[in-house]
């Protein structure tokens, strides 16, 4: 099975390709110029692997949560590719990719994935890592401060990972029973692995977790 994975939820744009005899992960950009590098990077990776786009069996895409603009570039490109080729598309989330990445690096027990959402907020989800990776709750958006206070006061041993941790690393370092796993990019290897086994979805839907600003402001205003 030939699988392409696309990752654009954070300032890093990365892709990965698994074919019968190889698996390549490539970081294309670390500065939010996703639209300029993504399609050209995919074309180059396919060529290097001796594949054409129509040889793809699956396109796996990180649907977030993450930075809206980058996500839209990755998701729209995935839609064009998968719809155009007529192959399956598979959704994975940034937070589960971080958890699977941490699991692959040997982390066990309680883990909290954190993706930077800017404006003092992070997208978070907790997992229990044993032989498997089990999500304990649904992804939510919270202030970094709230997350730090929760874990600093509940006494449970925990590992934090993701660019949301790096952004507020001083706060997260202060959690007495916490450990920081230094990883900012959702795992592309995990995207290929999950993408190979998960049921395809008929539409690709981003996980935003936040309303558009105008809608949020509007509801606040109408309530007053």
């Amino acid at each position: 099975m030939n699988i392409l994975a696309i990752e654009t939820a954070t300032p890093v744009c990365a892709i990965a390709l698994r074919s019968a005899n190889s698996e390549v992960v490539r970081v294309l950009d670390e500065d939010r110029r996703h639209t300029e590098v993504l399609a050209a990077g995919v074309a180059m990776l396919l060529e290097e692997s001796g594949l054409r786009a129509r040889d793809l069996d699956r396109v796996v895409v990180d649907v977030g949560p993450g930075l809206f603009t980058g996500l839209r570039v990755g998701i729209a490109t995935a839609i064009g590719l998968a719809e155009g080729v007529g192959c399956a598309s598979v959704e994975v989330t940034s937070l589960e990719l971080l958890a699977h990445g941490a699991h692959g690096r040997g982390a066990r027990g309680r883990l909290v994935s954190c993706v930077d959402g800017r404006r003092g907020e992070i997208f978070v989800q907790s997992f229990e890592l044993s032989d498997a990776v089990l999500a304990l709750d649904a992804p939510v958006v919270r202030t970094a401060r709230d997350v730090v206070i929760e874990w600093a006061t509940n006494g449970v041993g925990v590992t934090f990972t993701g660019d949301g941790v790096q952004r507020y690393v001083k706060d997260f370092s202060a959690v007495p029973n916490g450990t920081i796993l230094d990883e900012t990019v959702p795992s592309l290897k995990a995207a290929l692995e999950l993408g190979a086994h998960r049921a395809p979805s008929s539409t690709i839907t981003p996980v935003y977790l936040r309303e558009a600003d105008a809608v949020a402001n509007f509801s606040t205003r109408s309530r007053q």
Binding site: R33, T35, E36, V37, L38, A39, A40, V42, A43, L46, R52, A53, R54, F68, T69, R72, V73, G74, I75, A76, T77, A78, I79, G80, L81, A82, E83, G84, V85, G86, T203, I204, T205, P206, Y208, A212, D213, A214, V215, F218
Partner: protein
């Protein structure tokens, strides 16, 4: 180059169309997210971007199917996509998807200037248009007079220095407590109103061809505060008359200065009845061919992008996969 798929997502319309080299439109699909924006009195960029993500796949698919093409291996030669100007979060959806489709099908793509797309719209409906052609492009985002010496050879003679005409309609409609978008509402009310009920200034009466509409909006606010007894239909009619007078006065000056064979009206505000009548009268007076677009061709659509794409492929060639969106791309920078 024979058959082109056009994709347009610069504002709130997600559109795809299939057009051939004879500018025959095989399909043209448009999905608008306008209903989501009504409550806010204007297009909310983040909502528009989200709507494009949800609709781009189905819209392209429908355009291909309606043109009798296989959505997974369509017999098209290229893709033309709007890469500017417009809302960045909206442009990126169409541009990224276009690159994905181009990769999937192994066809080239070209980034098209949305305004140049509007200039090609008349050619899709009227094959007897002759150059040079004067086009009045009026929409929610733009107001300009363009002189075209041939397809793709354009010179902007004048444009708005502040609000676009459509924007002025929206602002006045909001002030009057009417719905969004304001153009159709005001145009409808104006039909039964008295255009001389309010004395509104006609801006930019000088000889240059630029426009200005922000002062007119302020004048409507002042006049209606002072004359509260004036009916809303009369306000609408007075405002519409003042807009038309400014626009048509500029168009007349352009016609006096430039020897042309035809005039065309393009853009969303081209649906406005006062402008349609005025432009048509001017064409008769100057003895030139007049093109008034159908209502479907006034709104943003992808057929016009495909038409511009057919031209750009011949003259400028394909774009690179690294092409970035240009939210502020001026028509004068197109080459």
């Amino acid at each position: 180059m024979s058959v082109v798929l056009g994709i347009e997502t610069s504002c709130d319309e997600t559109a795809a169309a299939v057009v051939d080299q004879d500018l025959h439109v095989h399909s043209s699909v448009i999905e608008s997210s306008i209903d989501q924006h009504r409550a806010f009195g204007g297009v909310v960029p983040e909502l528009a971007g989200r709507a494009h993500v949800a609709t781009i796949g189905p819209v392209v698919r429908r355009a291909l199917l309606e043109a009798g093409l296989d959505p997974h291996a369509p017999a098209i030669d290229a893709i033309a996509v709007t890469s500017g100007p417009g809302l960045i979060g909206s442009l990126l959806v169409g541009l990224s998807a276009a690159k994905g489709y181009a990769l999937a099908w192994g066809v080239p793509f070209v980034g098209i200037n949305h305004l140049e797309g509007h200039l090609f719209a008349p050619l899709l409906e009227q094959s007897d248009l002759e150059w040079p052609l004067l086009t009045l492009l009026v929409s929610g985002g733009h107001t300009m007079i363009v002189l075209q010496k041939g397809p793709g050879e354009h010179e902007v003679l004048g444009e708005t220095i502040d609000d676009a005409a459509g924007e002025a309609y929206d602002k006045v409609a909001r002030w009057l407590g009417l719905g969004y978008p304001g153009g159709p509402e005001i145009d409808h009310l104006a039909q039964s109103g008295d255009p001389s009920a309010l004395r509104l200034p006609v801006s930019m009466t000088g000889t240059d061809l630029d426009f200005s509409f922000s002062g007119l909006k302020t004048a409507v606010v002042r006049a209606t505060e002072k004359h509260t007894e004036v009916e809303v239909g009369d306000v609408a009619a007075s405002f519409q008359a003042a807009v038309a007078e400014q626009v048509l006065r500029k168009l007349r000056t352009a016609l006096e200065r430039h020897e042309v064979r035809g005039i065309a009206l393009a853009g969303g505000v081209a649906a406005n009845s006062a402008l349609r009548k005025g432009v048509s009268d001017l064409a008769s007076e100057f003895g030139v061919i007049c093109h008034l677009p159908s209502m479907a061709m006034c709104t943003d659509n992808a057929a016009m992008i495909a038409a511009a794409g057919l031209h750009r492929f011949r003259t400028s060639g394909a774009s690179d996969l690294t092409l970035a969106a240009r939210p502020n791309w001026q028509l004068s920078e197109v080459s």
